[in-house]
Amino acid sequence: MSFLAPGFLWLMALSGPIVLLYFFRQRQEERVVPTNFLWAQAIQDTRTAAVLRKFLRSLLLLLQLAFLALAVLALAGATATLWSSGSARLVVAVLDRSASMGIADGEGGRTRLAAAKEALGNAVEGLREGDRMMLVAVDERPEVLVPFTGEKDRLRRAAAAVEVRDLGTDLSEAVVLLRSQVTAAAGRALEVIVLSDGAFEDPGVLEGAEVSFVPFGSAADNEGITALRVDRGAGGGASLFVSAESFGAKPLSRTVSLRRVEGDRLIDAREAAAPPGGQAVLFFPLESVEPGPLEVRLEGSDPFAADDRAWCVFRSEAPRRYAVYGKGNRWIRDLSTFRPGLEGPPEPLATSDALRKAGPVDLVVYDGEVPPDPPPSRAAIYIRCVPPGGPVRAAGTVEFPPVLDWSRTHPVTRHAEFSDLLVVEALRLEGLPPASVLVDSPRGPLLALHKTQEQTALYIPFELDRSNFPLRLAFPLVMANALDHFFSESRPGDEEDLLRSGEPLERVLPVGGVLEVTPPKGTRVSVTAGPTGRAAFRDTFHAGIYRLKSPAGPGAAAASLLRRGESAIAPRPRFEAGGVKHEARPEAVRANVLLRDPLLLIGLAILSIEWLLWVRRR
């Protein structure tokens, strides 16, 4: 038997006063007799009868104590364990703490997580001597909160400390963990209780365990912001892309507002409308918006508030700079023709001194040659040349290399056609990993994008004038794609506009520099930059604005939920694991039955009997 409110058990102390009152009430008369040994013998003669008589005489007292005990047990929420399994059990409780578990659609406005915790509490109470339970909290990754133990208090405390995180649900890693536990169980049956609303994809097959799915939640209709992005136009302008979706049977018809976080000032508002299950896409121009933290809000209310708000930190982008080194050619002279907003010298730089004097650049195009000491740059395009001392080497030349194949999905070669590419002569490149080859020929790569820690480089191993590449549509596409690809990545010191909650928040700092992060919920945390000069804060579990303080000054970062899987809040009656359907089994955690009602009924019966006895004795 266990108790929901064991604090009430202190009331059992009332039995003391009851017994005392009973015996005080009995008025035992003291009487001096010449000798009492004959009485002792008489008592001995009637001992058996006396026991029965005492019992009958004490019946009222016994009934009172019984009623008190029953009342206290009822108040304390006594529950009885109904487990009937004979052998000791190994139970893994998987508690979902993803964002959708924060929906308050339970009885009395309880959140799904609160209901899951209560169910987990029942399962813990149902543990018997020898049973062991492991508690695993899961969002997008599993976390073992308590390894296998029979300590109920420890399990209860760990469960009570679990909080909702603004993350999605992914059980695939949890299943890997569970598989290892099945192996470790060494033949013993492993019970897995999944306490979740079921908003997750098939995590993979889980054999050797008895899986019980205990679903929570009732609300199904929801609208939420599923995508948010700052699009920076080629000309430097920016706009905010917002996607709002309807989940469920109701159409979407809500106002999406853009607000400045400081002061909650409204900047702009648009109407979002979509049919049931549809999507509404909105753009907020940011040209006239001052940099700083912004909030996008889906006005109105629905059961899931976490996806009704999203945040970003809008920053003005510094212009990207480039330089062309070498003799130059007519096709690559002004890169801003491929991507507006780029700045660079109008003429190619013929010497390495001129290249150095050009100052820091983001991109260098090496046309036919590379100086012995090239300046550092995050991106480079090598046209019929390779950097000295690098892993990529030129091993001679090849003539008329035919195009064998090209990547149709890589961002750089996307939408480009290479089947009619003709090259008179090309360098035979070696040292490139196969994955970096974008256009291949039997004699070597014809286009490659190689990424290292220091640099992202596009290799064009042939002279443009000795090919038909500049005359093909693929050329401007590749150039534009490559420039977008180069500059879509942040430069050292660049800051992201927004994160999805759970993604690490990184800043480039001097080695040993300290980044202070104040999350939307919680207290300030200090992170020290490592040898690479990067300070990473990974506990971005909650959506909102993260206030930052670093040697460079104060700043901010934004994290948002932005997960379609979580926004689809309708509880699932089952989930699939490796194609095996696991139906909902709420009874898996109903090991204990609340005894309050039967206890109260028995107590009333006892009161009735006592009343009858009292009336008869009077």
Partner: protein, 292 residues
Amino acid sequence: MPLLEKEFLKRLERLEIAARKVRRGVRRGERISRRRGSSVEFADHRQYSVGDDLRFLDWSVYARLDRLMVKLFHDEEDLAVHLLVDTSRSMDYGEPTKLLYALRVAAAIGYVALAGQCRVRPALLRAPDRIESPGYLRGMGSAERLLGFLERAGAEGPNGLRDGLRRLASEVRPKGVVVLVSDLMDRDGVDAALSALARNPGDLFAVQVLDPFETDPGIEGEFRLVDSEDGSRAEVSVTPEVLAAYRRRCGAYLAAVDGACRRRGIRRLETTTAVPFEKLVLEVLRTRGLLR
């Protein structure tokens, strides 16, 4: 208040101690001894033999039968009466108390004995083996001493019957009439005490004085019964069943005491303080052969 009223004392003077066994006394008294002596009460004849006092020859017999016969007379002796009173705390119970009743019984018997020229030795049996006694009293002049001694007696201590009687038997070894007045209530039994009493050669009487509560408590309910002698407590729920069991136990105990007395030649007289004292002395003691 005196133990015995004057009117009652006068009535006692008409009684005398009836001893079945007549023992040699130390002084001549009113008792007729079996010893043929020189009193005037004729007892028997016997053949004359040389040396007999010629004064006791019965000449009338010689005249009729021509035979020399000597007249024999009863010798008169005084009789010792030992009055043993149990003064344990169990005697201090009831209204009147058993002790008062016992003292009055002893006083009455003693007075009768003094009036009959017997030697009277009252004794109070105290625990553990102490005997309080003024010694032998003789003659009516000692009546006041006897009554005064008994009037001053109070109950104290536990039951000292067995040890007191043993000591009495070894030191005094009383002859004559020995009267023990006690409730004869002892959780260890009274066999040992009665055996000690039976070691005395005289006529042995045991007057067992009980309170009516002891034979028929007539109570019901929750009681903590405190033993008057050792203070022990017994918590008893007195119900009709327990009461019946008590009566059975009490009857069995008294029967056992009676049997023990019979086996030892002790004449036992059981009474309760509810029996009027005068009736006990003037009727019961006479019918039971202690007085006549």
